[in-house]
């Protein structure tokens, strides 16, 4: 059983769209400046803190927040919960956009960006000990996988372009091929994030003695993996709630569903039910974190109430607060509570990543880092660009699903 998605339609150049466009433009100007002058002028990064906001947020946190496509695919295709199918396309879209943003973030951040193509192509030079190589190859491949997963949406739209017959014909011919291969592409879309999201945790292990003991554990990969899947579900709740608020519930239908329609579970009930997955994931994360700290004799450090202890406790508190909000079924049914819990999960997971990459990293007392205004504005610009792309795509292409469900339609 599959649900049918429709383009939202409506005017493009709304006021929020223009504001986002301005932010995106400002970021763009700063990016040009970065390429013209190097990294030193525009960022606060230094030889003590060689990785800053662009890696910690745009790449490490950004891709974790973009795990919606991964988390929902696990549920729908592996756990065979077909009722969540309507969530797949919007989740995959936000994932594709998030990973694309990460790709741009990397391109900005690396010093010798014109050499970037050598990483995937110079396979005889691959250093198989490099965790970063694995992360880079996985993230790059996954970016393509996500856009392929999403391509039926674009092809559906192209098929309707009767004014451009060659395009319609091409789309009509390509879509069945893509849809036939889709299962193996989606399987890749589950394998790749499992690999690189855990490896994003393993990445910082190489800092060894320079990583604060509260975060320096061989369990980093599993902690990163569990929290990213929970963040993925949270992002889906967040995105669905906002897009329903923004685009309303009764879009103008250009294509009517076939007569076979059955009433679907309401969006709200679906999200409430989905959100349960975050509870065991979050609880598992918190327990593993505590057991690991206890096992390594770091519990006193956790309760030392210095800066590091407060940051670690804050992470744990955010996770536990989020879990607490989702424990009771009656609470999960309240969209406000659900939204709050989702935000808390996203915040908790993001803080954990910031802490691991920036706070826990200790290059020596004479080094310090706080992102510069221009550095922050570039990230804001990239996020604005991501939202712009999301709005454009859901308005023009069949991504979001309506309350009716088309039984006859199969992938």
């Amino acid at each position: 059983m599959s649900a049918r998605a429709y383009a939202v339609g409506g005017p493009i150049l709304t006021r929020p769209f223009k504001v986002l466009l301005a932010l995106f433009g400002l970021g763009g100007v700063l990016i040009l400046f970065r390429f013209a002058t190097g990294l030193g002028r525009i960022t606060a990064m230094n030889d003590g803190y060689p990785w800053g906001l662009w890696i910690a947020f745009d790449v490490v946190t950004g891709t974790a927040l973009a795990c919606g496509g991964y988390s929902v695919a696990l549920l729908v295709y592996v756990m065979n919960k077909g009722k969540y199918h309507p969530l797949v396309r919007p989740a995959v879209l936000t994932s594709a956009l998030g990973y694309t943003l990460a790709g741009f973030g990397v391109a900005l951040d690396i010093g010798r960006w014109w050499n970037i193509w050598r990483v995937p192509l110079f396979f005889w030079r691959w250093n198989l000990d490099s965790v970063l190589l694995e992360v880079a190859l996985c993230i790059t491949s996954y970016m393509f996988v996500l856009w392929i997963e999403l391509s039926p949406a674009f092809l559906e739209r192209a098929e309707q372009q009767t004014g451009v017959p060659w395009l319609a014909r091409f789309a009509a011919r390509t879509r069945p091929i893509v849809e036939k291969a889709l299962l193996w592409i989606i399987a890749l879309g589950i394998l790749l994030p499992t690999m690189h999201q855990s490896s994003l945790g393993a990445l910082m292990l190489i800092a060894g003695p320079r990583l604060h003991p509260l975060w320096n554990t061989g369990w980093l990969p599993l902690l990163f993996l569990m929290s990213c899947i929970a963040m993925g579900y949270a992002a889906v709740v967040f995105e669905s709630t906002l897009s329903r608020l923004a685009f309303g519930r009764a879009p103008d239908l250009k294509v009517r569903p076939t007569s076979d329609t059955v009433p679907s579970t309401s969006d709200r009930a679906m999200l409430a039910s989905l959100s349960q997955a975050m509870v065991p994931l979050g609880t598992g994360y918190v327990l593993l974190r505590l057991i690991d700290l206890a096992g390594r004799g770091q519990l006193p450090a956790l309760f030392a109430f210095d800066f590091y202890s407060v940051m670690a406790l804050l992470e744990l508190a955010l996770f536990m607060l989020a879990i607490g909000l989702l424990l009771r079924d009656s609470d999960r049914q309240k969209p406000g509570t659900l939204f709050k819990a989702a935000m808390l999960f996203m915040l908790a997971g993001s803080l954990y990543r910031f802490d691991t990459y920036l706070v826990a990293f200790q290059p020596g007392a004479h080094w310090s880092y706080f992102p510069s205004v221009t550095e922050i504005l570039v990230t804001v610009g990239l996020i604005a660009g991501e939202i712009l792309a999301y709005i454009l795509i859901v308005k023009l292409f069949p991504i979001l699903t309506l309350e009716k469900r088309d039984v006859a339609y199969h992938h």
Binding site: L74, Y77, V78, N80, R125, A187, P209, L281
Partner: protein, 286 residues
């Protein structure tokens, strides 16, 4: 229908089992290359003249770092893209010492372990050298190095990584590194690692009252080719207490046990495909 707790747990476990092995005991110590060369620095001999710092700059064609000398001369405070070696002073009143910093040329270098295309690599004589053609400027080497050695050209449009390569270009001409050549007190000497170790231990034994009874770099961080002996505790002069495990070994052990022969990812891919095929058939027949 809501997802049962068991289902959600299965989601977590499926991913976990596939991606993560428990922290494993790290690998065996790494032997030094047979032709390994290095430096031996002796804090008791150094007078802090910084002739090595100037000679290094000349030999490596580095721009002068005049930040701290009001534009007058090369006076780096720390290693940077303009200083591959630097002399520092530790002074606590009753106790003081000079200290020479440069790349340690680790037996198991974290930078080379981190580097995606092997721009940093242990090459001839065990020297960790840099090949700019394979560097994309990701700076993961800077994250990795426990000594904070590799430095990035932050102000350049086409930046490179900069660090001591033990004057490998001079060694190729049959000369020794610039720093050891100019040192007036032979506080830093060049030689084969085995010879340097022997010399270091000879000095420790000869004057046990003066030296801390340890050769830093013999085993520290898995062992290094640049060695130190000192009359003050090593952590005072900025040499970190690393233990005998090399920095990249924990990460490498975990990563290798997950990705050994790439079997686990391939198996997981097959498993995912099989489960999804079965699900689709079930759905079609329902």
């Amino acid at each position: 229908m809501a997802i049962s707790r068991r289902t959600a747990l299965r989601v977590a476990l499926a991913g976990a089992a596939a991606a993560v092995a428990a922290p494993v005991k790290a690998s065996a110590p790494i032997a030094a290359p047979a032709d390994a060369v290095g430096l031996l620095y002796d804090t008791t001999k150094c007078i802090g003249c910084k002739a090595c710092v100037s000679a290094c700059r000349d030999a490596n064609g580095l721009e002068p770092d005049t930040t701290w000398s009001e534009g007058r001369y090369h006076a780096p405070l720390d290693l940077s893209a303009r200083a591959k070696t630097v002399i520092k002073l530790y002074d606590e009143g009753t106790q003081s010492s000079f200290m020479k910093a440069q790349c340690m040329h680790c037996l198991d270098p974290a930078c080379a372990n981190a580097c995606m295309l092997g721009a940093f690599k242990k090459r001839e004589f065990g020297i960790v050298t840099y090949d700019v053609d394979y560097c994309i400027g990701c700076r993961y080497c800077e994250v990795a190095c426990p000594y904070g050695v590799p430095k990035f050209e932050w102000s350049k449009v086409a930046p490179k990584m900069v660090k001591c390569e033990l004057c490998s270009h001079r060694l190729a001409q049959g000369r020794q590194p610039a720093c050891t050549e100019v040192c007036p007190r032979q506080a830093v000497i060049f030689g084969k690692r085995t010879d340097l170790l022997r010399e270091a231990h000879r000095r420790l034994a000869e004057q046990p009252a003066i030296y801390v009874q340890k050769v830093y770099g013999e085993h520290d961080g898995g062992g290094t080719q640049c060695l130190y002996i000192s009359h003050v505790p090593f952590d005072k002069v900025g040499l970190p207490a690393l233990g005998e495990e090399s920095t990249p070994s924990l990460q490498r052990t975990i990563q290798h046990s997950i990705y050994k022969g790439f079997a686990a990812p391939v198996a997981l891919y097959g498993l995912l495909g099989a489960v999804m095929l079965r699900n689709r058939r079930k759905e079609a027949s329902a």
